[in-house]
Each structure stands twice: as C-alpha cells, then as structure tokens.
Symmetry: C2
Subunit: 344 residues, 2 copies
Amino acid sequence: MKTVILHIEFDAIIESLEGLETDQILLIVENSIKQEYPQQIERINNLNSKEVITLFVDGGEQVKEMGTFSQVLDYFITSGIHRESHLVVIGGGATSDMAGFVAATLLRGIKWSVIPTTLLSMVDASIGGKVGLNSTQGKNLIGAFHQPEYVWIDHNFLNTLPEVEWQSGWGEIVKYSFLIPPSKINFHQLQDIKSKQLIASCVQYKGRIVSGDALEEGQRRVLNLGHTFGHAYEKLFSISHGVAVSYGIASIFILLEQKEMLQLWQDIYLGNRCAVAPLPWTRDQFDTEKVFATIQGDKKRVAGAAIKLVTLSSVGNPLVKEISLEWISKEMERVRDELEQLRR
Amino acid sequence: MKTVILHIEFDAIIESLEGLETDQILLIVENSIKQEYPQQIERINNLNSKEVITLFVDGGEQVKEMGTFSQVLDYFITSGIHRESHLVVIGGGATSDMAGFVAATLLRGIKWSVIPTTLLSMVDASIGGKVGLNSTQGKNLIGAFHQPEYVWIDHNFLNTLPEVEWQSGWGEIVKYSFLIPPSKINFHQLQDIKSKQLIASCVQYKGRIVSGDALEEGQRRVLNLGHTFGHAYEKLFSISHGVAVSYGIASIFILLEQKEMLQLWQDIYLGNRCAVAPLPWTRDQFDTEKVFATIQGDKKRVAGAAIKLVTLSSVGNPLVKEISLEWISKEMERVRDELEQLRR
C-alpha cells in the first residue's frame, strides 16, 4: 500500500478524518500536544461521523517499551474495537513508532494514519512504515513494516516545538542535504536550512525511496546514512536522534577520509543555526572502545565481521561500502580526534 | 512468499536444517517434546553448520500470553542474533502461533519454519502464517500474518500424541471433510477418519486456499467454518479447539436448518472414534445467553449488527452468509436443544 502524504491545515485534517472509511477511530495523543492544542484534540474527539476512543501517552523513547505497548493494546481491546477501526496518532517519532506497531498487531493489523508534530517526525519518522519498540538491548529491535494510510503534515504544530526538537529535526535534514541530488534542491547553497519549505523536499525524497523498497532490501538502505555511528552516539551520550545522526555522518566522512564532504557538512551543519547543538562530548568522555563496542553490538544483527556503511561518491549519489569491523576499530582514535577538532 | 510444506522423516529434517541459508538457528521447543524426543532435539542442537540457540517452553494456550512473548524476545535478543537468523519451532499450534509472532517482530521480521508435533498443528495451525497472542479479552487479538518458509511434517511425532490432542485434531479434520470437494477425497465415504494419509489432503487444501488469499480478504474466510460458535464453546466449556470447532459446525447446521448436513456431521464425527469426545455440556451447563454474549463479543471485531457465518451449499461448496445477531440470539435455545439431543 502506498501512503498518501499531505501538507495540510488542521481544518482539512478534520475533513479527512470525517471521510475515513470507518465508524471508529482509535486516537493516540501525546500529553504535551494535549496541553498545547486542547481545542484541536477536542475537535477530533467530537467528529460528527465517528466514534473516537482516545488514549493519552507521554512521548519520548520510554513510550516504546514493551510494557507501554501492552497497556495500549489492552486499553483498545477492552474498549471494543473491530477490524475496520482506524488508528490515528498525534505526536513525535517515538510515539508514532509505538502506535504504528499497535496498528500492525491489533487484530493482525488495522489501518492507521499519522499527524506528526515534530520536525524529525515530519521529515523522517512518520514516513516509511518502520514501526516498533525498543528492547533493553537496543533501539527498534522489535517491530514490523506497516505503512500508514495517511500522513497529514500540519506545519503549525512546529510553532510550539522545543529547541531540542528543532535541533534533532535539523540533524536529520542534514542527512537529506547529502542524499537529495542538487538538481532537485541544493541545501548546500541555502543560507538557512530552517526554511519550512525544505520539509516538503525531504518528505518527497523519502516517500519516493520507500515506495520503491518498502522492506529495506536495497535502495532504502541509503536512508541509514549516519546511523551506524549515530545510534552509538545517541545511546552513549544521551543526545537526540537527529543530532546523533548528523555527527554520525561527519564520522563516516572522517573514517573514509572524504575531506570535501566533511567540509560541506561543516558548512551546512556548523554554519547554520543548528550549530547551537555543540559536539556533545569532550575528548575525555569519548571512550573509543565503548563507541566501537556499541557499533559492533548494533551490527551483530548483520552476519559476519564486516558491516555495510552508507557514504556518498558525491552529493546526491549515495553508495554502500562494506567495511571490516577490524579496520573501523583501528581508525576509531582518529575519528574521535578529528571530531574533537570540530568543537568550538 | 509461498511456504514449502513437506511430509518428511526426521533424518531429512536434519538435512533441510543443515541446508538453510543462515549460520544461526533460533530453536523453540516444547518441554513435552524435549522429554519424549531427547535424541532428536540433541541432533538439532548439534548441527554441523549452524549455531543453534535453544529455548524450551511449556505448550498450551498460556504460551500465547504477552509476558511469555516478551521473555522469548529478550532471551533471543540477549543471545546475539542477526537479520539472517532463522527461527525454528517444534511443538503444537499454540507454541507455533507464539513463535511465529516472535519471528514476525524480531528485528522487524526474520525467517521461520515449523515442525508441527500435534495433529491439529499438522493439518491446520502450522499452515497459513496466522501468528499471534491471546489477550485477556479473547484469543488471537494480537498478531500478524507471517508465512513460515518451511513446514516439515514428520508423522512419527504422532506416536506419542495424547488422546485429547487426537480428538482436537480430528475435530479440525471434520471441518476439512466438509470443505474439500468429494471428487478430491471423500471423507464421508471413509470408514475411519484416523488414517494418516488424510493429513496430506487437509494440508494440500489449506495450502492452496491460503496461498491465494494470504491476508484473509476473501476465499480464506471459508476456513473459519465452525469457528464462530467454536470459539465460544472453547472459551466457556474449556474444551479443545478442534472439538469446539466440530460442535461449532454442527451448531451452524442446526441454526440454518441444514438437516442433511447435520446428518453427515453425525455420521462422520459421532460415527468415528472421534466420538469418544462427547458433547461437553449438559443442558444445565449450556447457558444460551452466555454463549450468545461470547459470540457477540468475539464479533464486535466486525463492524455492524450482522455477522458473517460460513456454511455450505453442499460438501465442497462453502459459502458465506450474513446473519443478524438478533436472529441468532432468538434461535439460540433451539441450537442448544438440538445439540442436547445429539448427546448419548
């Protein structure tokens, strides 16, 4: 199934909800959104043509724990649902990851749609149908592929976005700035990557890639640019996903000695307002052995002693390289030292 | 993906396991099988070409609880797995339902295969990719469709099958006796439906139906013959799944006043050794309101006040009828009384 992604105002979202082919909506809303947008939530709860069963949850990674998932399932099952129930989630990427997994597994799969409320979720998390939970051992180790029916992007939700969430979103936009061909839109010639119009370019790019490779058997892998190191940084240094991915991209360029690419990264990431997110570690904090062990642990999930890293031959031309873990281990000190030099 | 279903001896299963395209097998084995077939389990644990990570579980419906599922996931994740790991389950239908859901959700889905050890699982549960868990609210409310790669049926496991499991399997075979066209194999002319050759006919029929409608959007629904009443009987009278389904089929024939079909059911079910499973309730125990409420609760999962019941125009010609809940409620006393008359 192909997801319909729309940039849309809230009034039109209400109309779309009224038009869904169901008599029952299962609504999952982040508590922070309930507080900031009570009228909007009220309007959904009072749709003319639907019964709406609403559940409020706290956002953030803890929403992706097995216990929360189990409680959410129980809540909806007890409420009396059916196979044509349509799940709608309003929130950031972690919340929609969990909600999508609920939709994937409730009665062996019901339809669902997303109203993303963070920049990261708008440009990345809400698109592509990767849904799931974290395990104590790592992120997203439990999950499924379950494409949402609609993604309704209302940019107005960004008006109340906290600074830390802007930074996470920009980090992921930096990823797109390397993946999207300059002929489409050249992020690297823009003065300011905060522009909301850029969201549409990222969404369009990801939508196209994902619809051609829903199960990540090929082309879709390029979307993992920066994620091998990024996941380790996110876990070890408690920084946001997007910021971790951005530094993960820089790490790849350092590892593979792609100096021009690293310069571009500095220009776009450090040169823009997103640079208020500084390197999150000092040399003392950056324990190269721990970082390597985390990468290795993450990649135990790929058989063998080599891992596949995404890099670029030029902007817009990603490629996947197979690199031995042994070699990465050897180069870790250099990555750490060069990242340290980027600090200011 | 189409499942390969093979009737096979244990030596050949070992060969097939050695030939799987993976270096790691995640093995889930029912404790009862470990006790009865220790040498076979030992042989799998000592495959030449694979690392085998083994977990033993108790069989039966309690294996399909969320807590067990979560523990099984944790066990394998902690053991260090990867996307090419192949899960193999040895056990009855409940165990393979749970194990298949683990395979469906671990790292967003890994390959899996089944070695069914009960009659019910051989003819029904192991085939078709319906996997999942029970909720406190009802059976199979959480789950996915995830086709196994192989089903290896070794009839020798039936040598130690307990009587109650034979009866459950026969109940489900009675279902096939009505679904399979008499031109293929006429169960109703057989003296004894215990014959192991019949297993192959059931397997072939289900495999064909399922491969044409993996997500149960049409044709596959006929496999639910007897399940609407059957699920209620199973829940309320603590009888095995297959026996409940068989009486569920009789109930449909009574409800729709299909006297010839009911006579056929009596001949094949009550007339064979499976008849040692008597009607599991007396008139006093059969609370028609409770049975109806359970059917209604189960079917809340279909929108509206009518439910779809599978019946037959003749043997081998199933059809789906839409019947109002109100009418079923009205007829419940009659169903109870006529079932009561079948007691002996």
